[in-house]
């Protein structure tokens, strides 16, 4: 059985940890979405040179573990003279990893808009800017939302890695409690519950968003 007295005593630790997890995630994901938008735009517009740079970035970002990226930022960069706080490294790390995933989800959305929609806009006389803004992007958003929501949830879960660079997120709290008191079950129970409390609402909002914007698929 779980030691409920222990659980209630240390639950506040997880609230503090959740604050750190959310802080890192919100800024990291915002950075990821921004990076994704820029990369998807460059790829869709087929801008030479920049496009090749984006491809290299996406391959490096997707094919290296977040832990390794964080070690590089936190332990590697100071050797080159860049010293960043652990929070900064965590946010940039999440943004760097998430940017490629977001970019691919958004690019898929843009490419899924049927050619005939652009042709209709052309025949009606819309400028390329109007076509992008009023025809292509609204439909691309509709198609991208499931992917983007999945990435948001993935990145929040992935943020558990930041405990490795001594950031006191929920994962760090759990490891700390296990290390100090050997209360493995209680600590893991609190950890799972905290993640569920953070992620379930996001998942529900995501499903609602998908339904709200699913016009492109009908």
């Amino acid at each position: 059985m779980l030691d409920w007295a222990f659980v209630s005593r240390y639950a506040p630790f997880f609230v503090t940890g959740a604050e750190m997890t959310l802080f890192i995630s919100v800024f990291g994901i915002a950075l990821a979405i921004l990076t994704g938008l820029v990369c998807a735009a460059i790829e869709t517009a087929r801008i030479p040179v920049l496009r090749q740079i984006v491809r290299v970035y996406i391959e490096v970002s997707r094919n290296t573990p977040l832990l390794v990226q964080l070690y590089f930022l936190y332990f590697g960069l100071p050797k080159l003279g860049f010293v960043w706080s652990a929070e900064m490294c965590a946010i940039i790390g999440l943004g760097f990893l998430g940017g490629s995933y977001m970019s691919e989800a958004m690019r898929a959305g843009l490419e899924a808009v049927p050619q005939i929609q652009r042709e209709n806009a052309y025949m009606l006389g819309l400028s390329s800017r109007q076509t992008m803004l009023h025809v292509v992007i609204p439909q691309a958003i509709s198609t991208s939302i499931p992917g983007v929501v999945a990435n948001v949830i993935f990145l929040i879960k992935e943020s558990s890695v930041v405990s490795a660079i001594a950031l006191a997120d929920v994962m760090y709290m759990a490891k700390d409690l296990i290390g100090m008191y050997y209360t493995t079950y209680e600590a893991l129970f609190l950890l799972i519950v905290t993640y569920l409390i953070i992620l379930l609402p996001i998942s529900i909002i995501g499903t609602w968003l998908e339904r709200r914007f699913d016009y492109a698929k009908r």
Partner: protein
């Protein structure tokens, strides 16, 4: 006949890497207020011809003129250059309705129709909305103005697409097999609208597989096949009754169904090409 609205002169169309030209110098014109129907077997390039006139396909030779003004001049080797660089204003003068009913899914029926006149022609929104409602009434869809495209049937969507093109008052309307993707019972409701347009004096260039409809609406007919015009006629009745060329005779025969033919040919070739 009156002066030509559209003049296609010696049009040459070639796809990159293809051995043969799609068109080897096609010439025809559409007089103002008249309806030209293009017929021909599948793969003869009817739709491509329409898309060239629309500016959706680059042409490699010849000219396309609207009201005597050249709007597109062929350039050899521009196969991959994409859509023609036409001004927004010029593009509003040519309306097009496509085969697949593809309204903008994120907008209501009314939103689909009012978008371009407000954004491109900068007309006041209340006026545009009033006209849009009139058009919707004309095609029997006034009560669906606030519906989203996915709530409509194919025939209804196609009628909305016609309104969307019409509201810009295009000088020329292009119709690319507008009923080909529809269930048979919806074909009539759409073609009736097109027939009404013709009566109202709208200049149109129509590609269709519906021979009865072609016969009913055409002022002028051309049949194309293997890169060129097989037969032109200013008298559709005569054309359908007694086509002059053997190729046209053969083609029109593919639309006939008879028990005699079935036993003779064992059913083969009874489809509409």
């Amino acid at each position: 006949m009156s002066e030509p609205m559209l003049t296609v002169d010696n049009l040459l169309k070639h796809y990159a890497g293809a051995e043969r030209n799609v068109f080897d110098g096609i010439s025809f014109d559409v007089p103002k207020g008249k309806v030209l129907v293009i017929i021909g077997p599948s793969g003869s390039g009817k739709s491509t011809l329409l898309r060239c006139v629309a500016g959706l396909e680059p042409i490699q030779g010849g000219t396309i003129a609207l009201n005597g003004q050249v709007i597109d001049r062929g350039e050899p080797g521009n196969e991959k250059s994409g859509r023609a660089k036409r001004s927004s204003q010029l593009r509003t003068k040519i309306g097009m309705v496509f085969q697949s009913y593809d309204l903008f899914p994120n907008r209501t029926v009314l939103g689909n129709i009012t978008m371009a006149p407000v954004m491109v022609q900068k007309r006041p929104k209340p006026d545009v909305e009033r006209e849009a409602m009139e058009l919707l009434k004309r095609v029997g869809l006034a009560d669906r103005a606030q519906a989203k495209p996915h709530e409509l049937s194919g025939g209804q969507r196609q009628r909305v697409a016609i309104c969307r093109a019409l509201i810009e008052h295009p000088e020329l309307m292009l119709m690319d097999e507008v009923t080909a993707a529809l269930d048979p019972e919806m074909v009539h409701e759409v073609l009736d609208v097109v027939l009404e347009l013709a009566d109202a004096g709208q200049t149109m260039l129509i590609v269709t597989h519906e021979m009865q409809f072609a016969r009913a609406i055409a002022d002028k007919i051309i049949m194309i096949d293997s890169g060129g015009i097989v037969e032109t006629s200013d008298d559709p009745e005569a054309f359908f009754a007694h086509p002059t060329t053997q190729r046209a005779q053969e083609f029109l025969r593919t639309f006939e169904f008879s028990r005699h033919r079935r036993t003779e040919k064992d059913g083969a070739g009874a489809q509409t090409a």
